[in-house]
């Protein structure tokens, strides 16, 4: 694993979200560097996924803000922000139809048509060569998650948020997705933020980890520093 050395792509400043009386994300300031895989780890209910939803503004922060390439994200139109900060959720939520139409969805929102060659390239990259015409109804859980990843990558995001992408998968599919994510970071210099409650997974795939507990950032560093060997 490479460790973080790239420029800062995304930075949060005193980011917080309160729901009712409860601060589910509380005063979090952290940086994500280009080409790294940052893991957000912590127990269930600690606020990791809530923090992730603030990063592409699916939820509104109560305090603080996020800077994308040094620009306050409140100044970026939400569709453009979400194109640049992509997201893959725990459940893939594929749209009915074939895989190609799912990959075309994002670019089509901007009036662009994704060429067949790019669809083939993306599917090659996620380990599903020749799957473009397959109906999403006939895919396994692991394959669906790969399509979800390719669909997010089709938008050419600067950073991709992954919310527990393997938690609903069996061990075999899980290791396949982990290997794929790692390859995408190493070979293609993608920047990922991965939410996981699985400390072993964080040790295996992350360059850096941030430990979140009760909505607060407790510690950040290399997996060995934060999680131990």
């Amino acid at each position: 694993m490479s460790g973080s050395s790239g420029a800062v792509v995304l930075r949060t400043e005193h980011l917080g979200r309160r729901v009712g009386e409860l601060w589910i994300v509380n005063d979090i300031s952290l940086e994500v560097h280009r080409g790294e895989l940052l893991g957000l780890v912590g127990p269930s209910g600690s606020g990791k996924s809530s923090l992730l939803r603030l990063l592409n503004r699916l939820d509104e922060p109560t305090t603080g803000t996020v800077f994308l390439e040094d620009q306050d994200y409140r100044l970026i139109a939400p569709p453009e922000l979400r194109r640049r900060v992509g997201m893959v959720t725990q459940r893939p939520f594929l749209f009915p139809g074939d895989i190609a139409s799912n990959l075309r969805f994002g670019p089509a929102q901007r009036g662009e048509t994704l060429p067949d060659a790019e669809i083939a390239g993306l599917l090659e990259r996620v380990g599903l060569p020749g799957f473009a015409a397959r109906n999403v109804a006939n895919l396994s859980g692991g394959e669906q998650q790969r399509v979800s990843l390719a669909r997010a990558l089709a938008n050419q995001p600067e950073i991709l948020l992954l919310d527990e992408p393997t938690s609903a998968l069996d061990e075999h599919a899980k290791s396949g997705i982990e290997e794929l994510i790692r390859n995408l970071v190493s070979a293609n210099r993608y920047t990922f933020v991965l939410v996981t409650h699985d400390r072993d997974q964080a040790r295996r795939v992350c360059d850096r980890v941030a430990l979140i507990e009760a909505g607060r950032l407790v510690q950040q560093g290399t997996p060995a520093e934060v999680l131990g060997a």
Partner: protein, 262 residues
Amino acid sequence: MLKSLFHSQIALGFAQAAIASVLALLVILLARRRNIHLESDTAVALLRGIVQIVVVGSVLVLLLKAPRWSSVFLLAGMIIAAGSISAKRAQNIPGARKVSTYSIAAGAGLVTAVMTWAGVIDTAITSLIPVGSMIIANAMNTNGLALNRFRSEVLAHAGEIETALALGAAPERTIASYTEASIHSSLIPAIDNLRSLGIVWIPGLMTGMLLSGADPLYAAIYQFVVIAMILASSGLTALLSTMMIRAYVFSPAEQLVLRENA
């Protein structure tokens, strides 16, 4: 038999109501023998029904003497009440009452105004109020059905909607199919009414016209006119309410705010 006993029409009406109530109470006694207890509910409903309808009848007596322009205020009052009632079907959607009232006002109001202007609905208060209230009541039902279905669809598909938002889709694009399903399902009763007109049911208005001696063919055609007006106003109301409710389902920053756990 009753007519020979009562010389006043009001007294005759109360006697007829008493006999109908006795029949209903007999059914309650039959139900009681099977350990189904409906006594208190039915007694209250019967009492409430007779009081309400006598009050409405008394108001109608006053209305017959009221000037024509007063029907505008009465219809406006009905629209406000209809907005409030049908908004309850859209639980948890903020702004549902406002959206419902505006949509019913626009849908039912426009159709009633155009048809009155065209001379299809007579401006006499005895014509405008009953026909207008039918149009408003049906618009209210359609609006309630549309918002209720829309709410269920959005809550059930929050994941799909947020996935589309996360891929850069505009809010209206993410809910387009759910909006369409809501409008379609809300109009099923109005469309079915039109389809079954004269075959499955002969509506009350036509019956009333026949009883009051109108030409049966004209009564039948006029009934079609009313049901078609109901379809037009209901359709317009559902289109408007599902369009306006969007502003309350998404925040200005294009976040889905209508969520089960939000």
